[in-house]
């Protein structure tokens, strides 16, 4: 998509687009702990949804159920209309279409930056090595770490590592990208370089689910903000509405804490 105004599309518009990720009545427990309670969430193609909420509210878990790094107890999750398969080949295939960026980067420590980006395309997609390299270098250029391609992850700064992690996910040509607090492990001066890449990605029309406390990013790039508390989705609104007129007391409370720090 080339429409640069996609990020500022009025709230009514995304609903007309094809739903890409859909969670219906999703419940999840960790032992006795009820972490996701009857969660409903739909993310349309090209939409950017920011998920916020207090610590322990289930944001990471929600994110991880979408590519089934966590299995759910009940309910239904579909991606592009297809149910998430059970563990096995079909699930691996689906995960290839869902990019994920972790708080702690999780770059493959024994592989160079370029190898990190080419591994998936070569082994999962069967792309020829030379083509994968070319594409990797292109993506590394795009996220601004092309000069680091032959280094190992440990030799990079946190911000650089996270941008490589984004390139690694993009190399699979995912239908949707999941970000679980991609900047919270970073030193403050590195947060923006990662957010800039993410904003660019949002502008380019990528479907994104982003768990973050970066409210500037939410205002700038999100189509919707979802507020979670105690495993429930309490609010689901466009950023303007959410930040100026949240419905629930808990959301107001949370916002007052996070916006005044």
């Amino acid at each position: 998509m080339s429409d640069p105004s996609a990020a500022t599309t009025p709230p009514g518009a995304p609903a007309q687009r094809r739903p890409l990720v859909r969670l219906e009545h999703v419940d999840k427990h960790f032992g006795a702990l009820h972490v996701l309670r009857d969660v409903d969430l739909t993310v349309a193609e090209g939409e950017v949804v920011v998920v916020i909420g207090p610590s322990g509210s289930g944001k990471s878990t929600l994110c991880r159920t979408i590519n089934r790094l966590e299995a759910i107890d009940s309910g239904r999750i579909t991606i592009a209309g297809e149910d998430l398969p059970a563990e096995g080949k079909a699930l691996a295939k689906l995960r290839a279409d869902v990019g994920m960026v972790f708080q702690s980067f999780n770059l493959f420590a024994h592989k160079t930056v370029r190898e990190n980006v080419t591994l998936g395309p070569v082994k999962v997609r069967g792309v020829a090595a030379a083509e994968a390299r070319r594409r990797a270098d292109e993506l590394l250029e795009r996220v601004g770490v092309a000069s680091q391609a032959d280094k190992y992850p440990a030799q990079l700064s946190g911000g650089q590592q996270q941008r490589v992690a984004i390139a690694r996910a993009l190399a699979m040509d995912p239908k949707v990208m999941l970000f679980d607090e991609p900047t919270s492990a970073l030193d403050p001066e590195m947060i923006n370089e990662v957010l800039d890449v993410m904003t660019g990605l949002a502008r380019s029309g990528m479907t994104m689910v982003v768990v973050t406390h970066e409210m500037g990013f939410a205002r700038r790039a999100a189509d919707r903000v979802v507020f979670m508390a105690e495993g429930q989705v309490l609010e689901d609104a466009d950023p303007e509405t959410f930040f100026t007129a949240p419905e629930h007391e808990r959301a107001k409370d949370f916002l007052s804490k996070i916006l005044t720090h």
Partner: protein, 221 residues
């Protein structure tokens, strides 16, 4: 020492037997141990249980008893390898050494796998790698690094454990020693020293190889 120089042929044949037993057993236990470690971390509970049962059973059995199983039970089940008796006994001994040593290899690799942060496997799953490739491409290469020093110890023990095979019709250093002592009762000490020196030398070679390996696989930082 004259007795060793006079019987270099016997001595050499024994040393060669030890080296052959060691080499085949090392390769075999590395392969079987890695497979067992994969079983022990597999997503299926049945596979994990099978791996655990095998390791706990065989690891807690004396090697001599494992040898008896191999040498006595396998032929009863009509399982034999090779034509000559020598070959058959060699294969039985290697099988027993592999069955036994692979338990220790498995446990070393499993503890190595535990040193690899879970995020590595999660990231590998997230790009769509199936379980097998998550292990072989991402987890095991990092686990092997952590595993090199304990693996060295396991293989040093294996060099010495090959001596059990001498009681099961395998010709190796201990068999050579027995031969030499029978024929040269007056030079027992020289013979013992010579055989010990041979083991020490073999172990030193193994230890050196693992030292080299440890340096070669060091994580660049």
């Amino acid at each position: 020492m004259q007795v060793l120089l006079d019987n270099l042929g016997t001595f050499g044949r024994g040393a060669w037997g030890t080296v052959v037993l060691f080499a085949w057993s090392a390769v075999g236990s590395l392969v079987l141990g890695t497979l067992l470690a994969c079983l022990r971390v597999a997503p299926s509970a049945a596979m994990r249980a099978a791996g655990t049962a095998y390791v706990n059973l065989v690891r807690n059995t004396p090697l001599t008893l494992v040898m008896f199983f191999s040498v006595l039970a396998l032929p009863q089940l009509q399982i034999r390898f090779g034509d000559s008796l020598n070959t058959q006994f060699r294969v039985f001994a290697v099988l027993a050494l592999v069955a036994y040593t692979s338990c220790f290899v498995c446990e070393a690799i499993r503890s190595g796998i535990n040193t690899v942060p879970v995020g590595q496997a999660e990231a590998a799953r997230a790009i769509g790698l199936p379980f097998g490739q998550v292990l072989t491409l991402v987890v095991l290469p990092q686990a092997f690094r952590a595993v090199v020093p304990p693996m060295g110890n396991i293989f040093i023990a294996l060099v010495k454990n090959t001596s059990v095979a001498s009681a099961f019709s395998n010709y190796e250093l201990i068999s050579a020693m027995r031969n030499l002592i029978e024929q040269n009762g007056n030079a027992v000490i020289s013979i013992l020293v010579g055989i010990t020196a041979a083991y020490v030398l073999l172990v030193a070679v193994v230890a050196l190889a693992f030292n080299r390996l440890e340096r070669a696989v060091g994580v660049p930082a």
